[in-house]
Amino acid sequence: MSDEIRIKVEGVNFFYGLKHALIDVNMNIYKNMVTAMIGPSGCGKSTFIRLINRMNDLVAHTTLKGKVLLDGKNIFDPDVDVVELRRKVGMVFQKPNPFPKSIFENMCYGLQINGITDQKILYEKTETALRKAALWDEVKDRLSDSALRLSGGQQQRLCIARCLVVEPEVILFDEPCASLDPISTRKIEDLIVELKKDYTILVVTHNMQQAARISSKAAFFLLGELIEFGNTEDIFTNPRDKRTEDYVSGRFG
C-alpha cells in the first residue's frame, strides 16, 4: 500500500440546473487502494465518481466549480482530451451493460476504436483481460456467443473485463453489485480486491458490509456534502462525526 496521491479533488461544487448536488468537496484518492463512497440515495456519491471520468459532461444543464487533479493535471482544463481521459479512467456501471454483440466483439470494441485491428493481438488481450476478470474459463469456448446470453453476474464480469482490456489506470465502480445475487456479488468483490494491486479503484456502494470488506479508505456523503473521509476501519469503528456514526450503525439511510 502506498501513500501516493493519484487524484486530488479540490473545492468541487456541482450543480444540476439549480440543484446543488456536491457542496465544496475536497478529497484525496490514493494509488493502488480501494476507496469506497458510502451514503444514502441521492447524497451525491454517484455524481462524484462520474466527475472523475467526466461522464457528467453528457448530462445537460450542469455546472462545475473547483478542480479534479489526476496526477496533478486538472481534468477539466480546456486542453484535456476527454476521450484520452476516459481511456485512462475506466468505469463499470450499476447495471451490467454489455453491448448486444458477441462476447469477443464486446471485448474488442475498446481496442478497435483505438485502431487495433490485428486479430492475434485482439485475441491475446481479450484472453488476458477475461482471465483477470475471472471469466475466461466460463466463456473461452463460446466467445462468439451473444453477451446477452450470459447470466447477470457473468455480464458484469464481462463489463469489468471490457474495461480492463483497454488498460486503464483508474477504475470507477458505480454500485457494481446492485443488481446481482450474493454469489455473484462475492465474486465481484474478490475481483475488486484483486485488482487494486494494479489499479486505483473507486467504488460507490449502498452496502456497508461491502465497503468494510473491500475498501481501505471510505468517504461518507450526505446531501451533497462530504461528511467524513478516512481509513475505512476508523469510519466504521471510530467515526468522528455523529452523522457518520448514525449512518454506519444503521440508524438511518
Binding site: N53, M55, L58, A60, V83, E84, R86, R87, G90, M91, F93, K95, N97, P98, F99, P100, K101, S102, Y109, G110, I113, N114, S146, A147, L148, C159, R162, C163, V166
Partner: protein
C-alpha cells in the same frame, strides 16, 4: 357477479373488433386472389400488354413498380436515417427542433397527390428529369421520408442510455458510439420503418401519376430517365380507360394480386434481414 359480466362484455367487444378486422382483410385477399388467379400465367408475368391491354402480360408494369420502389428506398433510407441521427444525437433540444420534428410528422399526413404535384413541379420540370423513373422515385421517397424518419427516430431514442455510456466510458467518440453501437442496436426498428415505407411506395398511384408512370408502353425501361409502367397506375388505367371493360377488369385483378405478392416479397426480405439482425445477439 357484476364484474364478471362486465368482463365478458369486454372480451366480447375485443374479439368482435378483431373478427371484423379479419373479415375485411380476409375478403379483400379472397376476392383479389380468386379473381386474380384466373388471369395469372407465365405469359401474364413475362409478356408485354397486347391487343389494347386485353391480352398479353403486365411485365413492364411489374418491372416499373420494382424500380420505383427500390429507387425510393435507395433515396429515402440514407436521407431519413441521417436526418434521424442528427435529430436524436446532435440537434439542440430546443423549440425550433421540436417544431421541425412536428412538421416532419405532419408531412406523413399530406395527401399523396400533393406530393405528386410537388414532384411534377420540382423533379420533372425544375430539375428537368422529365417523366422518368428518377423523378418518380424521388417523389415517392419524399412521400415515405416522414415514415422512415419517425421510425428511425423512435428506434434511435429507444437505444438504452447505458449502452451509450458504456461506449463513452471506453473512450469512444460520439461518432464511434453512433456508428458502432447506437445504429446497429436500432437497426431492427429502422427496418420496420423501411418495411412500411416499401408497402406505401409500391402501392401509391397519385405521386407517380405525373412523374413516372405511363399509360402504355411495350418497352422496358432502359435507364433511370425512362418513363415506365407501374402496377397501381395500370390498375387505375384498366378500370377507367379502354374499350373492353370486362376483360380489363380481370387483368386489373391480376395486377392487384401481383402487386400484393410483390410487396409481400420485398417486405419478407426486409423482415428476414430484421429478424436476422435481431436474433444475432439476443
Amino acid at each position: 357477479m357484476k364484474a364478471e359480466i362486465t368482463q365478458k362484455i369486454g372480451f366480447f367487444l375485443l374479439i368482435a373488433a378483431l373478427a371484423i378486422t379479419i373479415l375485411f382483410l380476409g375478403s379483400i385477399l379472397y376476392f383479389i386472389t380468386v379473381n386474380g388467379v384466373k388471369v395469372l400465367s407465365w405469359q401474364f408475368l413475362t409478356d408485354i400488354p397486347r391487343k389494347a391491354m386485353t391480352a398479353g402480360g403486365v411485365a413492364p408494369a411489374i418491372v416499373g413498380t420494382l424500380y420505383l420502389t427500390l429507387g425510393s428506398i435507395l433515396f429515402s433510407l440514407p436521407l431519413g436515417l441521417i436526418t434521424a441521427i442528427y435529430l436524436v444525437e446532435y440537434s439542440p433540444k430546443n423549440i425550433i427542433v421540436n417544431i421541425l420534428r412536428m412538421s416532419i410528422n405532419n408531412l406523413a399526413g399530406v395527401p399523396s397527390v400533393v406530393f405528386g404535384l410537388f414532384g411534377l413541379a420540382v423533379f420533372v420540370k425544375f430539375f428537368g428529369f422529365g417523366v422518368s423513373i428518377l423523378a418518380g422515385s424521388l417523389t415517392l421517397s419524399i412521400l415515405i421520408l416522414p415514415n422512415i424518419i419517425s421510425a428511425s427516430y423512435e428506434a434511435l431514442v429507444a437505444v438504452p442510455r447505458s449502452l451509450r455510456e458504456a461506449s463513452y466510458a471506453l473512450g469512444a467518440t460520439q461518432w464511434q458510439t453512433i456508428k458502432n453501437i447506437v445504429v446497429p442496436t436500432a437497426l431492427p426498428g429502422i427496418l420496420t420503418g423501411v418495411i412500411l415505407g416499401i408497402g406505401r411506395a409500391a402501392g401509391e398511384t397519385a405521386p407517380i401519376l405525373f412523374t413516372a408512370a405511363t399509360f402504355y408502353t411495350n418497352r422496358y425501361p432502359v435507364s433511370p430517365m425512362s418513363e415506365c409502367m407501374a402496377l397501381p397506375y395500370h390498375i387505375y388505367a384498366l378500370m377507367t380507360e379502354g374499350t373492353h371493360p370486362d376483360q380489363q377488369k380481370m387483368i386489373a385483378f391480376g395486377c392487384a394480386l401481383i402487386l400484393l405478392l410483390l410487396v409481400l416479397c420485398i417486405s419478407a426480405l426486409a423482415i428476414y434481414l430484421r429478424e436476422k439482425q435481431r436474433r444475432k445477439y439476443v
